[in-house]
Amino acid sequence: MKFGVVVFPGSNCDHDAYHVISKHVGQPVDFIWHRDTDLSSYDAVIIPGGFSYGDYLRAGALARFSPVMTSVKEFAAKGNLVLGICNGFQILCEAGLLPGALIRNRDLHFICDHVNVRVESINTPFTHELKAGSVLRMPIAHADGNFVCDDATLDELRREDRIVFRYCDREGQPTDAANPNGSRDNIAGICNRERNIMGLMPHPERACEDLLGSSDGRDVFRSLAGTLAAAA
C-alpha cells in the first residue's frame, strides 16, 4: 500500500503527514508535486494542511486549479481514498469534491489550539477503527475554518451520516462554546456521498505522538491503513 502527499506551493503540513505515514503507519509514501499528474502508483492521497498559494483569493481557491487536482478528481472517482486536512479540506470544498465552504472564523482570529471533536460517524474508511461518540483531542490551526452550507446540504449530510467529526466539549457535548470557529452545526469534518473522500479542519497527523500533546489522531491513519489492507 502506497501513500501520496500532495505538495502545493505553501503547503506546510506535508512533512507531518509524510512522517506519520512512514513512521506510524509504516508504509511507503511519496511527496507529489502539484504539477505532477500521475497518481497510478498510489492507494491513498493526502491533501495536507498549509497555505497553498498564500490563501490568495480564498483559502484553497487557487490550488484547485493545479494540474494534480484533475488527477485527484479522477483518482477519487475510481473510489480511491482521498483525505484532506485543514487547507486540504478547503481545497476539496473549492474543487467541489466535498459540499459547503470554509469561511473566515467567527471571531476573525487565527486559532492555534487543541480542540475536542466527537466521532459522529465510524461508517467511513477513515474512522472505522474509532469508537462512535468518542472524543478526540486534536490541534487546529486556521483562520478560515468556519464551515458553511445551505439547509438542504446540512439535511443531506445528516441524513446520509456524512458528518464525521463535530467540535465538542470534554464530555462530548457539541456546545456553542466548544465551537472554535462558528462552523455550522459544529461540523469539523465531513465525507462525500461515496465515503471515499474525507475533509476535516483538525490535524490528526499532528496528534500522533504523546510528546505533541495527543496521539488520538493515530486511529484515523490506522483506519485508513486498515481499509487499504482489507482491500489488498
Partner: protein, 81 residues
C-alpha cells in the same frame, strides 16, 4: 476594455469581517449604519477583438469559475469600453 467584477458574500452568509468593520466605523462616531458587508473587486483589462457582449460573457465565466465561490458568494460584472 475593462471588466469590473464585484464579488460579495450571499446575504445568507455571515460576514464577520464586515461586522468588525461596522463596529470600528461606529467607534469613530458614524451612526445610522445598519450594516457593512465586505466584498472583493477585480479589474480585468481585456485586449483583442472581443466586443462588449463577448467580454461580458468571458468575465462572467471567470467570475463564476474562479473569482467567486458560488456556494457562498454572488457576483456582478460591469464592462467599461
Amino acid at each position: 476594455m475593462k471588466a469590473k467584477v464585484y464579488v460579495t458574500l450571499k446575504p445568507s452568509v455571515l460576514d464577520p469581517q464586515g461586522k468588525a468593520i461596522k463596529h470600528s466605523v461606529e467607534l469613530l462616531g458614524f451612526d445610522g449604519i445598519s450594516d457593512i458587508r465586505q466584498g472583493k473587486y477585480f479589474e480585468i483589462a481585456i485586449e483583442g477583438p472581443l466586443n462588449a457582449e463577448q467580454a461580458r460573457e468571458e468575465a462572467v465565466r471567470m467570475a463564476h469559475d474562479v473569482l467567486s465561490n458560488p456556494i457562498i458568494e454572488d457576483f456582478r460584472v460591469e464592462i467599461e469600453e
